[in-house]
Symmetry: C2
Subunit: 148 residues, 2 copies
């Protein structure tokens, strides 16, 4: 989310003095990791329901999907310049090939929003292909931009 | 969020076998901590703007407020029964006085949604009292339910 990234960059990385500190890069890393923790924490139960491993609860599924979209919308904001070092699994490729990363991140965010919209309908036949499409964007980005 | 807590409890704490594991409690703790990391990461720049320490960017402020509300809506879902042990600053009071905790959490979630709605208007005079009200709910809950 562009507007936010600018504000976060200002607040997290530059602060009032305009000088970035190691703590502020660390905060940015923790921020993006927190967003992915929430993506994963919500996506997991959704996967269980899609696979039929746990009973399909359409209200809970829709809420999980809303949460995934909200967390996905925040995920990019922590990838500020300079936050490539430290306790992170983000590859240098994020910053070296930023346009491609931003493209994949944008697709991920867009598809999670579409999944949240579809989930409100509560129809598993409509949910399944959209859920699979979101899962594909996770893998697609992790392959090139995240260390194992 | 009630529906979700039930699903998360099922997925995180009980899994397929119906038996909770230490890992699943740990996941619940990480989940709620991630939600609060995102609350804090967004609330910080908002505070900077409210105090005039960083320039007021109404679009970024509104996006931060939306994110705070989204993260707040997830925050309660990680406080599942049995997740009172481990690497957590949550006091036993959360589970011993659950009704009060849920009441304060509900007020926090409600007020963050109201703040997100007000923030869309971009009027700092309207934002300030609502922002202060949200801040008060943070402190009010931390006093009784979170270790320093």
């Amino acid at each position: 989310m562009k507007a936010l990234k600018i504000a976060l960059t200002g607040a997290l990385a530059l602060g009032i003095s305009g000088v970035a500190t190691a703590d502020q890069y660390e905060d940015a890393i923790k921020y993006r990791q927190a967003a992915f923790t929430l993506v994963k924490g919500n996506f997991g139960p959704m996967a269980g329901m899609v696979k039929g491993e746990i009973p399909f609860d359409s209200a809970a599924f829709a809420e999980h999907a809303t949460n995934v979209a909200a967390a996905a919308a925040m995920a990019d904001d922590g990838f500020i310049d300079g936050s490539d070092m430290g306790d992170t699994k983000a590859k240098d490729a994020v910053w070296e090939n930023r346009a491609e990363f931003d493209k994949l991140m944008g697709e991920f965010q867009q598809l999670t929003q579409e999944l949240a919209a579809v989930a409100k309908g509560g129809n598993m036949d409509e949910i399944k292909p959209k859920f699979a499409a979101v899962g594909k964007t996770c893998k697609g980005c992790h392959d090139d931009f995240k260390s194992k």
